[in-house]
C-alpha cells in the first residue's frame, strides 16, 4: 500500500511541500515498521497539513505544540515511531520553547521542520528564519530581527541529532530522515522548502545553487565534533551546508527513565492501581 493518500491537496501547485510529501511517503513505505505503528504529530500551517495527505495515524494539534504531544505519545508507547512535523513559524516561533526543551529531554522522536522561511498559511509574514531585510505584509521595511539559525541553536542545546536537508533533493531528504528515525533520541531535520507564493527570494534555484552535503564536500567532516559542527552551522549565504551537521550519543529518555527503562509500554499496561495498602500510611 502506498503511503500517499489520494485526496485533494490544499497546497499551491508547485509548492516545495509536495516533494517532502513524496519523500516521506516513500521512506515510510521502506521502513521496517508496521503502518499502524507510525504516528505523525503536526501543528498548524501549510506544512502541518502533511499527515492528512499520507496514510498514517496522526494527531494534528495546535499551532506550535506538536512536540509536547509527540513527546508524550512516544513516552507512553515506545513501540510507536513518532514523527513531529510542521512549519518554521510553528516550530521555531510559537513552539520555540518546546523545541529547545525537547532537545534536553532527548526522547526518541524525529522532528521535521518544513522551513520555507515564511508564514505560509497566514499569508506571508516573516518567520524566525526569514532573512534580514525581506519585506512582508507586516514587515513593510523588511525584517529587522536576526535570522534564527536552528541548526546552531540545536547544537547549542546539545540536541542529539541535527540535520538539514532540501525538499528539492528527494534522495538526500529520504536518507537524512531515515537516519533521523533510526537515531535513538531526539532528531531535528530542518528541511529547506520553497514557498513559491510568499517567499520569492528563497526559491528552488536559490537553494539548489547553495546547498551542499557536508559529508560529500568534506569527507573528513565529523558530526560528533560539537565546536566544528557549530562553526559549520554558521555558514549561510553563497554556500549552505546540509546533511547531518551534528550528532552525539546521549542516552535517550527511555533509556534513562526508571519507569520506562525496562521497556514498559504504558499504553498497554493500563490497569488501575490498588492503593488500599498505600492509604494505610495515612492511619
Amino acid at each position: 500500500m502506498s503511503f500517499e493518500r489520494n485526496t485533494d491537496i490544499a497546497w499551491c501547485p508547485g509548492c516545495g511541500n509536495f516533494a517532502i510529501r513524496a519523500a516521506v511517503a516513500e521512506l515510510l513505505g521502506e521502513l521496517d515498521v508496521d503502518q499502524d505503528k507510525i504516528l505523525m504529530v503536526s501543528g498548524i500551517g501549510q506544512a502541518a497539513k502533511l499527515p492528512h495527505y499520507l496514510n498514517v495515524s496522526f494527531f494534528d494539534g495546535l499551532h506550535g505544540r506538536a512536540i509536547p504531544v509527540a513527546f508524550a505519545a512516544k513516552v507512553v508507547n515506545p513501540e510507536l515511531v513518532v514523527i513531529a512535523e510542521s512549519g518554521d513559524g510553528d516550530m521555531y516561533g510559537e513552539g520555540g520553547n518546546h523545541m529547545i526543551h525537547a532537545m534536553r529531554r532527548n526522547v526518541d522522536i524525529t522532528v521535521i521542520v518544513h522551513d520555507n522561511q515564511i508564514y505560509g498559511l497566514t499569508k506571508g509574514q516573516g518567520s524566525p528564519t526569514t532573512e534580514l531585510g525581506m519585506k512582508t505584509s507586516v514587515q513593510h521595511w523588511g525584517m529587522l530581527s536576526e535570522q534564527m539559525n536552528p541548526i546552531a541553536m540545536a547544537i547549542a542545546m546539545n540536541a542529539s541529532f541535527v540535520a538539514r536537508s532540501f525538499s528539492g533533493n528527494k534522495d538526500h531528504l529520504k536518507r537524512v530522515v531515515r537516519e533521523a528515525i533510526d537515531h535513538k533520541g531526539f532528531s531535528l531535520v530542518d528541511v529547506m522548502q520553497p514557498c513559491i507564493t510568499f517567499n520569492k527570494h528563497n526559491t528552488f534555484a536559490w537553494y539548489r545553487s547553495r546547498l551542499y552535503d557536508v559529508k560529500e564536500e568534506h569527507s573528513e567532516y565529523d558530526p560528533y565534533d560539537r565546536v566544528k559542527a557549530f562553526e559549520r552551522s554558521l555558514e549561510w549565504g553563497e554556500r549552505i551546508p546540509m546533511g547531518i551537521i551534528y550528532r552525539n550519543s546521549r542516552l535517550s529518555f527511555h533509556e534513562l527513565n526508571p519507569v520506562l527503562k525496562s521497556g514498559l509500554n504504558l499504553s498497554q499496561d493500563n490497569r488501575p492501581a490498588d492503593v488500599m495498602e498505600d492509604l494505610k500510611a495515612f492511619r
Binding site: 504516528l39 492528512h52 498514517v56 508507547n77 499504553s267 492511619r283
Partner: protein
C-alpha cells in the same frame, strides 16, 4: 461542639510543618478527630507560619475563629495571631520568649531539655512530648512517629526519644475540655493533595505533566513519589502549555493522564483545553485555586476560578467540572473525573483550593467505585475506522494508536475520520455531536447535598466551603439550611422548586458571587451574595456573623 484550637505560631524555616504534622498525626492515632490548616507566606524562610490543629467531638472540616492554646515559636507571629484569639488563650513558649500584650505567656525550658537530651535541634520533640502528655496520648504513639522519621539515624533517634520523654514530664497546665477519643482504624488523616493524588494513582493515571505552581504542585509530588511503584511517568514541563499538550498526547496514545496547576498556570492551558475538547481527548486537570488575579497570593485560598474554569477554552465543547468538598471527595471525585473523561472523551476539571490542598482532615476511607475503572478503549484492528463517527450519544468508539488501526485527530474542524474538513453542514453535525454529550454527563452527576431544606434561609455553596457551611448550619439550627454542590458543571438542580419563596444566599470564596451568577443563569433565581476574598478559609463564626449582618438570619 466541644473542641480545641491549637496554633503553632512561628516562621517558615523553623520546621513547623513537620512539627505540626507530627502533632496532628499523633493526636489522630490517639483517636481524636483532627483537622489542620496551614497559614503561611510565599517565602522559604521567615514570615508567618501558623499551623492550626483543631480537635473536636465531631469530625471537623474547617477551623474556627480563635485559638485556645498557642505554641509560640515567634513572638511576632503570635502577637498577630492573638489579635484574633479568645481572651482565655493560653500561650506556651520557650524560656527566652518575650512577654506579649494580649496574653500571659507560660514559659517552659524546652530548649534546655532538648540540650539535656543530647540533641539541641530536638526542641520541637520536647514540645511534642509536652503536648502529648497534656492530651493524655500514650507515649508509644509519638515515639513511633520519631522512629519512622529518624529510623536510619540511631543516635538522633535516641536523643529524640529522650527529648520526647522529657517533654512528657512537663505539665503545661492547660485545662483541657472533654473531647472523646475512639478507635480511628477506619479513618484516615489526609490532605486534599494526598487524597487527589492517591485518587489519581488509584484511577490508574500513568502520566502526569506539570509545571510547578503553588498550591497545585503537591499533587505532582504525590505522583512523583509513587512513580516507580505505580509505573507513572511524571514529567516536569518547560511551561504549562507543554504540560497540557503532553497530557493530551499521552491520553491520545491511550493512558489516563493529567495535569495539575493553579489559576495562572491554567490560564496558559486554555488553548490546550480547547484542543482536548475538539479532539475529544480525555484529560483531567487539577486546578488548585489561590487568590488572583495574576500572581495574587500564592499561598492563600480562594474560590475565584469557577467561571474561568467552566468557560475555559475558546469555542464550545462538553466538559465536566467537580469541586470536592473535602479530602474524601477529592479522592473519589478524582476517580470519577478520570471515568467521565474516558467515558465521554472530554476534558474534566477538578477545582481544589489552597485550603483543601493543605488541610488534613479525619476522613472515612474513601470508597473505590469499580465502575470508574472502565476505560472505554478498544485495542483492535478496524478497517476504515472513523474516530469521530456520528452517533446518537455523540460518543464515538475510541481506538488508540499502535493496535492495528489508523487513527486520526485534528484540531481543525474535521470529518468522521478526523480529516480536516471545510464542509459546513458537517461542521454543524460535529458541533452537535460534541455538545450533546452534556445531556448524558448531567445524568452522571450526583445530587447536591441538602441540609434542612425546610429552613427559611438557604445557603447555596460549592466546593471546599462545605466544612464551614455545614458547621454553621449545625450551630444555628433549623431555620438555616443549605444546598451544596461538588459536581458543579453541568449543574444538576432537581428540586430547585423547593427554593422558591426562601431567602437564598450564596456564600463563596470570591467577591462577585460567581456561583450565584451561574445558579441564576440556570434557574433564574436571584441570590444574595456573601463573599470572602481575603485569602483565608471560611469559618462557621464568620458565616453566621455575616448572615446576621445581611439580615438573612
Amino acid at each position: 461542639m466541644n473542641d480545641i484550637m491549637i496554633g503553632i505560631a512561628g516562621e517558615a524555616g523553623q520546621g513547623i510543618q513537620t512539627f505540626g504534622d507530627a502533632v496532628a498525626k499523633a493526636l489522630f492515632r490517639a483517636g481524636y478527630n483532627v483537622f489542620t490548616d496551614k497559614s503561611y507566606h510565599s517565602r522559604i524562610r521567615g514570615g508567618e507560619y501558623i499551623y492550626s490543629i483543631r480537635i473536636a467531638d465531631r469530625r471537623p472540616f474547617c477551623i474556627r475563629d480563635g485559638y485556645d492554646l498557642v505554641l509560640s515559636m515567634s513572638e511576632e507571629t503570635t502577637e498577630k495571631l492573638l489579635e484574633k484569639a479568645t481572651d482565655k488563650v493560653y500561650v506556651v513558649a520557650d524560656e527566652d520568649h518575650k512577654d506579649l500584650e494580649k496574653a500571659t505567656v507560660k514559659r517552659f525550658s524546652f530548649s534546655k531539655m532538648a540540650e539535656d537530651a543530647g540533641e539541641k535541634r530536638a526542641v520541637n520533640t520536647v514540645m511534642l512530648g509536652a503536648l502529648m502528655s497534656l492530651m493524655s496520648v500514650e507515649q508509644e504513639v509519638p515515639q513511633k512517629l520519631l522512629e519512622d522519621t529518624f529510623g536510619d539515624k540511631e543516635d538522633v533517634l535516641k536523643a529524640n526519644i529522650r527529648a520526647l520523654r522529657k517533654g512528657y514530664e512537663i505539665a503545661l497546665g492547660y485545662d483541657l475540655p472533654d473531647i472523646p477519643r475512639r478507635d480511628n482504624k477506619s479513618f484516615l488523616l489526609m490532605t486534599g493533595t494526598e487524597a487527589a493524588g492517591y485518587g489519581a494513582i488509584s484511577a490508574g493515571c500513568r502520566f502526569l505533566s506539570a509545571y510547578p505552581m503553588t498550591p497545585g504542585t503537591g499533587v505532582m509530588n504525590v505522583l512523583a513519589a509513587n512513580s516507580e511503584k505505580h509505573s507513572i511517568v511524571v514529567e516536569q514541563a518547560e511551561d504549562e502549555i507543554a504540560a497540557i499538550n503532553m497530557a493530551i498526547g499521552a491520553a491520545f496514545a491511550g493512558v489516563r493522564s493529567m495535569v495539575t496547576t493553579s489559576g495562572g498556570g491554567f490560564a496558559l492551558m486554555q488553548e490546550g483545553v480547547s484542543l482536548a475538547g475538539m479532539t475529544e481527548t480525555p484529560i483531567v486537570a487539577v486546578v488548585a485555586q489561590r487568590p488572583a488575579p495574576a500572581t495574587g497570593l500564592p499561598t492563600r485560598t480562594a474560590q475565584e476560578d469557577l467561571s474561568f474554569v467552566m468557560k475555559s477554552g475558546h469555542g464550545e465543547f462538553a466538559r465536566y467540572v467537580v469541586a470536592p468538598r473535602n479530602a474524601r471527595e477529592a479522592f473519589e471525585l478524582t476517580r470519577k473525573a478520570f471515568f467521565i473523561a474516558d467515558k465521554y472523551q472530554v476534558p474534566v476539571f477538578i477545582l481544589l483550593s489552597q485550603q483543601l490542598v493543605d488541610s488534613s482532615a479525619t476522613i472515612e476511607v474513601p470508597s473505590v467505585n469499580k465502575e470508574h475503572d472502565q476505560r472505554f478503549i478498544e485495542r483492535r484492528e478496524i478497517d476504515d475506522y472513523k474516530r469521530f463517527s456520528l452517533t446518537e450519544s455523540g460518543i464515538s468508539p475510541r481506538v488508540i494508536p499502535g493496535a492495528g488501526t489508523i487513527i486520526r485527530a485534528d484540531s481543525d474542524e474535521h470529518d468522521e475520520y478526523g480529516f480536516i474538513s471545510e464542509d459546513l453542514s458537517l461542521r454543524k453535525k460535529m458541533v452537535e455531536k460534541r455538545m450533546k454529550k452534556l445531556t448524558s454527563i448531567l445524568k452522571e452527576a450526583a445530587e447536591p447535598l441538602w441540609r434542612n431544606p425546610d429552613a427559611d434561609t438557604i445557603i447555596i455553596g460549592w466546593g471546599d466551603s462545605w466544612g464551614a457551611i455545614d458547621e454553621a448550619v449545625s450551630e444555628h439550627g433549623g431555620s438555616l439550611g443549605y444546598l451544596h454542590f461538588s459536581e458543579v458543571f453541568p449543574l444538576r438542580v432537581d428540586e430547585v422548586s423547593k427554593l422558591s419563596s426562601k431567602k437564598l444566599v450564596t456564600i463563596e470564596g470570591n467577591y462577585s458571587g460567581l456561583f450565584g451568577e451561574y445558579f441564576r443563569s440556570v434557574t433564574g433565581m436571584k441570590t444574595t451574595h456573601i463573599g470572602k476574598y481575603d485569602g483565608r478559609p471560611m469559618t462557621p463564626q464568620w458565616i453566621l456573623s455575616r448572615l446576621v449582618e445581611e439580615g438573612m438570619i
